[in-house]
Structures are given as C-alpha cells and as structure tokens.
Symmetry: C2
C-alpha cells in the first residue's frame, strides 16, 4: 500500500475539491459572472507591469547559459543582498545576504524551516483559526501540531492559553500576521507579550523556541495599521516571506527565508536550511524569477483596490446585520455565522455565494470570505447576501 | 537542538563544499581558463534560442493575471496534454494529461513520488554507484536505502544480486539510465530482465514493487543507443523527468512525473502525488516555465557538442592508458582509478584537474569526470592528464 499519511490527506482533500467542483458546476449553469466565488485566496489584481518588463529585460540581456543555470542552493548572492538591503531600509534591520535564503514561496520556505528545526515528536504551536496546511507541513517532519485559540474579539493570540500550551517539547510557534483567515494584524503589544513569553519559556526549558513568521500578507495592511517586524522584537524568529500576494505571483513560487545572525544556532540553521532546500527537491528557487523580484524590489501590488473591496463588503455585510471583526490586513473577512458554519456555507450556495466554512480552519461557527475578487463581483453579490441574511433571519 | 537528520547532512556536505571551494581557490590563483573543472554536472550548452523566444512571447501575449496565478497542483492541463502527446509520438505510449504531474525538476518529482509511496521502514533499492541524493530523498520519508552494485564491466544492474536484495519490504527500485555517474545506458534486455524479476517478486510478496525511473539524461544518448521507455516494459513504473539537461534549464526547476493508468493503485498514486506536490511546499511547478516547456516540446539541446566532448576525452584518456567503460549516455566518464580514488582526485588537483572520487557515489576505486565543459577546456586539459598519467605510472 502507498503512504498511509497520504491516504489520509486524500480523504481530507475531497471536501475542498467538492467545493471547488461545485463552484465550477454553478459557473457552468449560471455563468461565471453570476457566481460569487469568495472561496479562494488567489490575487485578483495583476502584477505591476514592471514584473513582465523585468522578465523580458533579463531574458534579453543576461548571458543565456548563466540565465538558466544552477546557483547556490540559497539563491543568487546579489539577489539576497538586494532583499537584505530593502528589508534594512524598511525595518531598520541589519541583514546581509548571509541572512537570506531564497525559497519556492512561503510554502516552500515553511517546509524548509520545519525540516531544519524539527525532530520527531517536537511540538509546533499554531494559533487557531489557522491555515490547515500548517498541520501537513509539521506532519511532514513528524512534529506535533498544538493549536491554541486566538481570542474571539480581535483574534490576537491569547497569552494565558499560549502560556499553558507551551511545554519543553515546543520547538516553534507559527504566526501569520496579517492573518489568513481572520484578517487580524498582530499589534506591537501582542508581539512584545509573545516575545516575553517565549523568552521566559526558552529560559525555563533551556532551549530556544523559535517564532516562524509566515508573511505572505505583510504588505496588505489597511487604515495605516503597522505590521511589526518580528525579528526586531524576538531574535529567534525565522521569517518565511512570499511575493505571491505582494506582486501577485503565486504561480511562480518565489519567496525567501530570513535567518537573523543573532538567532541561536544561526550558522547551523542557515546551513541546514540551504541543504534542506536541496534535499527536499527544491534545489533552488527559480533562477529567472529570483532575478525578477530583485529588479522589482520596490514594487508592490495595488493595495488600494483590495482596500476598496474590503470596505465595500465589510460595510454592506455589517449593514445587513452580519457579525464581523473588522479586518485590518490580508484579503479576508471573517464572519460569525448565525448558526452552524457548514449549514451557512450550504445556504450561501443557494444564492451562488461560495465561502469557506470556519471548520476548514479548525474554527467552527465562522466563515471566511475572500474579497480578492473584482469590485463588480462584490457589487453583484450584495443582493444575494441580502437574500441570505433574510433567509437566516439576520437582524439589521 | 535543530533536526538531528539535518546535522548529519551538514557534516556530509562539507566534503563537497571543500572541493567546490578548492576549485574556486585554484581559479583565483591560476585563472578560470587554467583550471579543468570536471566536477559539476552543470550543462555547458546554452538552451536553444526558442526557449528565450517562448518566454518573451508568453509574457507578451498571455493575460497578465492568468500568467502568474495558481493552477491545479498537478499543473496546467494543456501543458500536461502536450507532454502526453509528445511522449506518445516518441514512444508509442497512450498517455493523457491524467498521467502527467508537473514537478520542480526531477529532484522535486522524486521527492513527491517517494512521499507518495513510502511508509516508514519501506526499502528502496538503488544500483550503485548512484547519485547520493537518493539516500537523502528516501530518508526524508523514513525509507531505507538498499544499494546493490552494478556489474563492473558495463555497469548494468546485476540481476542475481538484485534478486537477493529484494525483500517483502521493498517498495521501489530507483533506476537512472542514461546513468549518473557511469554513463551507462540500460539495454532492452536489462529492462526486460528487471521487469521479469520485479513482476515475480511482486507476485511472491503480494504487493507491487514500483520502478522509479529518474530520467534527466533520457535524450543524452550517443552512437544511436536506444533508451527503452520503461513504462512499456513494466506497468508499475513512475517516471521522473527533467528538462535540466535536455533544454539546459537546471536553474528553472521544471520536469514532470508520469503515472501510467495501468499502474497498480493508479488513481491513489495520482491523487496523492498531486497533493504531495502541494503539502511538500512546491504547490505547483513554475507557471511561466510550464508554458515555456510546452512551447518548446520538440526542441532539445545540442547533443552533438556533448558527443564531441565525449569522444575527445574518452579517446585521449584511453590512449593515455586510463581504464574507462565507454559511456553511451549522460555527460560523464567513469574512470577506474589506478589506486585509491581520493588519492587520485588529490593527485589530479596538482595539475588543476577537478574530478569527483567514486566514493562520493558509494563506489570507491573510480572517478567521475563530467565532460559538460567547453571543448577548449578538454583540449587544454589533455597535457595535464598526461602529466597525471605519468605521475601515477599509468601504462599506455
């Protein structure tokens, strides 16, 4: 028989696939424009034109053999240096190329970091609701996932529960701010409290607990909300960044890992992560796309468009009487469902609205509404949401 | 402490790194053109111009959002269909898109396949000498590597030894033809014997043993040597292909997995491998490069240039008295070292010749000489090889 771990994943996968197929069926029956698909975290804003210009420029000017050849597993030193300098300028850090490892998106980076850190049985704390792939990533390296609920007001991590969840087996805490699925941005005071807690616990247990900061949404923050740069508050932070959202490049698989020099076991971690990049089969992040992101280091996607969507959908759904914690980042609304979240998703389907039930993020009683769609889709969906609110007896 | 598995790899890695650094030191001291670096399997022939033309054409014509967005984890259906048709035309197979999963090169494909197949303790047979990364890939999924020596005449697998090595725990046999490091191409009779052996053993143990065919060198065969297409001989074959060598694209990480419909557990394997592509963090092979290889499906690198190198180096080293089994594929010579292989590599270094000792492929007493270099480098190296032969007392 094939891998038993994989058989389990196939069974879990069928729920999401069923939903995806239902969306396609609805689109076929009613036309794509009459289906309000808020289920996918796929950027709706095209990359800035400079991305395609960079690709063409690089292909036309780079020496052909060098353009497509291998490089260090960690990536081109010049690209890593460009990234380090950009981070230093934005955040007042002091990184060099020796702190940056290019990765195949944040998903690739997270796998490399967990492969680097975990011994079998090590615990990794996540804050629920959370992106369920974390469980698979941790399971790949025989770690144990420990989920700690965020508070239910603004979905910041709850320090007392965190404190109880951390044991001498805890090797890492994965955080994700701006957050998928809640849209929460962890405040500076949250980061300070978390840093203090982990410093204390590391001292008590005599071994470092790492923060693994999953940051595909770093630039997507609204209303002037600050997104603290975690390495400045806690030295044992490994950042996994991705350009999937900030440059709308999810299909090209490009990101990086930050390993701060002051992190415990810095040298071991940097070397191990470079080698893990190779032995997991990534070998290196795409040579061409590495050069592209370096050339576009000061570019970003049209965040205002997402913000317009956010306000439009949030305000209208609030007006309809839905209960939502105002999202400050990413491109998700996290709605408290009037009843069971799976029933809510089913009821929404009747009006051609696709959302993901909170259970898919291990947090029943909520639904994730991804507003990375066209403004037109949101506008067209509002009457459907109104019918849904009426059916469910949501009070204005 | 970080992952103990990774600590071991860091220690192993230092040997190769030391060699790489020695090469750089020599280049600095004597000039890159006076160092004969035969240590790396990095293509020396640029990609055909159609590759860069395809990149520019795709970027200019594809809708920007679609160009960079996510797709199915298995890859674009149209790209997979193009590959299936190309294979069918070349090999008389009957594949469709449902038999193809796009991967991040063969290294990515091998990890996905092993993740899909292996339960802890499953054995994977490899034929030595072998690419040592196989050990790491198998170890990633807690499999056990079992190495079986090839014969020492033409480095085909030795069936009697294979027969003894296969147990009820054997889940897969990795083969690599054309072979790194020996340059051997497995003959049709080898493949037929191996297929018969594995069919018999699968029947005896009541569970399928898969061939995992690692094929980055498939197109690099010389003197009209046929490279049998393994799925035609053995249904339980999973092919891991890469364009790293055939289109000189190693830095872009692009390849595919073939899962034949007639393979046992076809559907489970196809689904699991698609999901493993996601959960290992690849998510999908680069969107842009997928489209590029589809557009360049009938292109290939300048094989004649490698063949010229092969003949030039092989004939001259034979004339100097070195013992070499004539390589029929890939871009490596496998030389029997007059004494200890590490001593040979050290002696070669004195003449600015870099080769990899056979021990690095778990086969002492040999050295791998990668002739994917310029013809000029080979011509310039011949006097150095002559001095080496004289020093070692090699008889003409």
């Amino acid at each position: 028989m094939i891998s038993q771990k994989m058989i389990k994943l196939i069974n879990n996968n069928s729920v999401i696939r069923a939903m995806f197929e239902e969306g396609n069926r609805l689109a076929k029956e009613f036309g794509r424009e009459n289906v309000f698909d808020f289920s996918l975290g796929n950027p709706s804003i095209p990359s800035p034109p400079s991305v395609n210009e960079a690709i063409i420029d690089i292909v036309k000017t780079e020496e052909p053999l060098a353009l497509h050849s291998y490089m260090n597993n960690a990536g081109y030193p010049a690209v890593r240096e460009t990234i380090a300098k950009s981070l230093n300028k934005k955040h007042g850090t002091a990184f060099t190329e020796s702190n940056i490892i290019m990765s195949s998106g944040a998903a690739g980076g997270l796998n490399v970091v967990l492969k680097t850190l975990l011994n079998p049985g090590d615990e990794v704390v996540v804050i629920s609701p959370y992106f369920v792939e974390y469980g698979n990533y941790v399971g790949n390296y025989d770690g144990e996932l420990v989920a700690v609920p965020a508070n239910r007001v603004d979905f910041q991590p709850h320090m007392e529960t965190m404190c109880q969840a951390i044991t001498k087996k805890t090797k890492a805490v994965i955080i994700n701010s701006p957050n998928n699925p809640t849209g929460a941005v962890y405040s500076e005071s949250t980061i300070k409290e978390l840093s203090k807690l982990l410093t204390d616990k590391s001292n008590v247990y005599g071994s470092p607990i790492y923060i693994v900061s999953d940051e595909p949404y770093r630039e997507l923050a609204y209303d002037g909300t600050e997104v603290p740069y975690i390495t400045k508050y806690y030295k044992n932070t490994l950042v996994c960044y991705s350009w999937s959202k900030s440059l709308s490049l999810p299909g090209q698989r490009i990101g990086y890992i930050v390993v701060p020099s002051e992190a415990d076991d810095y040298e071991l971690i940097f070397d191990a992560a470079s080698i893990a990049t190779r032995t997991l089969g990534f070998v290196n992040a795409s040579a061409l796309i590495q050069r592209v992101v370096a050339k576009c280091i000061d570019e970003q996607t049209n965040i205002e468009a997402y913000d317009t969507n956010r306000k439009l959908l949030y305000n209208n759904l609030k007006d309809l009487g839905f209960e939502i914690s105002e999202p400050k980042g990413a491109f998700y609304l996290w709605l408290k469902t009037p009843g069971d979240d799976k029933d809510f998703a089913k009821a929404a389907l009747k009006y051609n609205i696709l959302v993901v039930p909170g259970s898919a993020f291990t947090c029943a009683g909520y639904a994730r509404i991804a507003y990375c769609v066209s403004k037109q889709t949101i506008e067209n969906s509002l009457p459907a949401f109104e019918k849904l609110a009426n059916e469910l007896g949501v009070k204005k």
